[in-house]
Symmetry: C2
Subunit: 128 residues, 2 copies
């Protein structure tokens, strides 16, 4: 199983590649305020798990497996954050912060129920 930290880094790698087509180790270092050696280490671990292809200075590529893993996390994050904001009326910032932590530990089953709950709730509001 992937750790919360590595999952965060993978999520960031995925999002950044989608946005800017490429990512460097230093970007991760800055984004998470961790040292460059710690990033190197994390990237090696992600590569060991076949979630990325890491060729040092030649760049970071995300694998199919990595994309799937990252997408799952992003989805969980999105649903959690939306649920907190729209159903529980939590402010955006707190919702995001908590989604970031909970996304690593919550089961898919609960995420699915949250999604359905939110959808049915919004439908009811349209009708009324």
């Amino acid at each position: 199983m992937i750790s919360a930290s590595l999952e965060d880094y993978l999520e960031f790698i995925h999002n950044t590649i989608l946005e800017k087509k490429e990512i460097k180790a230093i970007d991760i270092s800055k984004a998470f305020s961790i040292s460059r050696p710690s990033v190197s280490e994390a990237l090696i671990r992600l590569a060991d798990m076949d979630l990325i292809i890491y060729e040092g200075r030649k760049g970071i590529k995300i694998t199919k497996k990595g994309i799937e893993q990252a997408k799952k996390t992003v989805k969980k994050h999105q649903i959690l954050s939306d649920f907190f904001v729209e159903i529980l009326m939590i402010d955006k910032q707190t919702a995001e912060k908590n989604a970031c932590k909970i996304e690593h530990v919550i089961d898919d089953e609960i995420i699915e129920k949250m999604k359905k709950y939110k959808e049915s709730k919004l439908k009811n509001n349209e009708q009324s």
Copy 2:
């Protein structure tokens, strides 16, 4: 800040003392399937944080600070589990399992909103 593991152990210590008036290191070892040396270590760390008083074979006592900390965790656990079961219709076992993990990372603010949401929902159901 206390770690998830230590928080789990403290919660268990508190609950067990409430139930049976006393607890021994071996009980924690069995409950969490960790070795006796790991329990010793954890108890020393909890004692260092003034959450318990640990006098080796003489027993484990929980401090005022420890009780407060444990109660907070228990409360979070309860609200999370209830919310999952009653609002999201999650089965009891899954709800418990997830509450155990989320209770360590979620903010009080969201817990409070979950509690209020559940209460107002139940009130509405009574009226109808």
